[in-house]
Symmetry: C2
Subunit: 234 residues, 2 copies
DNA sequence: GAAATTCTTTGCGCAGGGGCAAATTCGCCA
DNA sequence: TGGCGAATTTGCCCCTGCGCAAAGAATTTC
């Protein structure tokens, strides 16, 4: 067990409303681990032996279809839970999780999950809230996919990324981990070609700035207009 | 309060593991209500005053986008919970629910929800399982929308409907409530025109049998081939 | 029973966006 | 520093599936 600063952890939403001593007991049972970039945190269909709290880095959660296509379910940011299969009533992980950059996480054996939920009601309630809000997110994505054009969806995806992992630079807001056109395509249900074309077009309009495995959003407000389908159609 | 047969209710998954006396206390606090066809059960953005258990009928849950498009989130069948906004940490309903046929439901005031979850742990656990499985369903739909063609998605939708609300007839399996091409389109992110064309084509192949607000699946297995993209592409 | 509504079908046109190939650029590693 | 592999761009083609309009059934209403 490494030397983790509890003050960094106690402020997290997952632990809200938890007594300090309870927090200690929970965190005390975790092991901390480091995951190198491009290494899996857990894998689809594997037995869900652990659940995790990401402390640092970014994790890409991807579902693979039987025929080999991949769909990115979400990106995990620091402070978020992942691999909580047991909170969904599953014994296996529903997706692959890959470290997008070098990461640090806490891990608990899954068998502790029911005890935590029972012994520390606010922890239980908090994690169920997580599941609830992910359900709402998922519904939003269904609606986006069902009603929006590719251009809008890609714009939405960029804005989401920037809000959740944006870092200010002098050029604009940079997505703070390596991300390929293919990755963006997997988030939006399109192809890397179409994403590339869109980014090129937006770069011409000075809305974004591209780069290898890199996107910087220059004009978020304009992008929002596109995302909402309110952009002037040239 | 009407005269409801508790034996019909005690077998439901939501109440699994619940002592008979606890079940009585829960059901005793419900009011039962009848909802006429095409009447709302609850409406998007309304304060979530109640949550419901559908006893009979079918309810269509639809989300409306700001620009007026509608996406069907799911169909509720007898025995299922609906309007459980509070289990998602919401104070308002996230969608519109319309009775697809005349329905009977139980309703509890939402403020009882936390008490139920606390006082009857298996009820709490069961409902969280519901949320968990709906999250998984939602992810499946995201994947379908992101990776499958319209033809596959419509085939999937029909099979889903038939599994959840199919009634055997001499012609095949009939979807047991009125459903329009438009409704199917809203489930699959396409247009009523495309759905109509697909159904016409499938009718020519004797896979389904259409009708006004009616669909009968004649050859589920063939339809499954289409749904999985394994149909011979003529 | 006639009219009005609602749902469905189908033709026609076309654009959004996927697929593929080839060229190019970038970053890394030896 | 030169070369290799991965990521990206772009051109070209074409097909899926949407939009619209108009016509045709099936129901409901008066």
């Amino acid at each position: 067990m490494g030397s983790l600063d509890p003050s960094l952890i106690s402020g997290l939403p997952v632990f809200e409303g938890l007594a300090a001593t309870d927090l200690d007991r929970i965190v005390g049972q975790a092991r901390s681990l480091r995951i190198a970039r491009d290494q899996p945190v857990f894998e689809q269909e594997q037995e869900a032996h652990s659940f995790f709290l990401l402390l640092d880095g970014h994790v890409r959660v991807v579902k693979s279809t039987p025929d080999g296509q991949e769909v990115t379910v979400r990106y995990i940011s620091p402070g978020e839970l992942m691999g909580i299969a047991h909170a969904l009533g599953r014994a296996t992980y529903p997706a692959n999780a890959m470290a997008a950059v070098d990461c640090v996480a806490l891990a608990w054996p899954s068998r502790l999950w029911p005890h935590f939920a029972a012994d520390y009601p606010s922890f239980g309630a908090n994690t169920y809230k997580v599941v609830g809000s992910r359900l709402q997110e998922a519904h939003s994505r269904v609606i986006e996919l069902a009603t929006e054009q590719v251009e809008q969806r890609v714009a939405h995806a960029l804005l989401k990324l920037v809000n959740q992992a944006g870092r200010k630079t002098e050029e604009g807001i940079l997505i703070d981990f390596p991300i390929t056109r293919q990755n963006i395509a997997e988030m939006t249900g399109t192809t890397l070609f179409t994403v590339s074309r869109l980014l090129s077009a937006w770069e011409d309009l000075n809305l974004v700035k591209g780069g290898r495995q890199k996107v910087t959003v220059v004009a978020p407000h304009q992008l929002l207009l596109i995302a909402e389908g309110r952009a002037r159609k040239s």
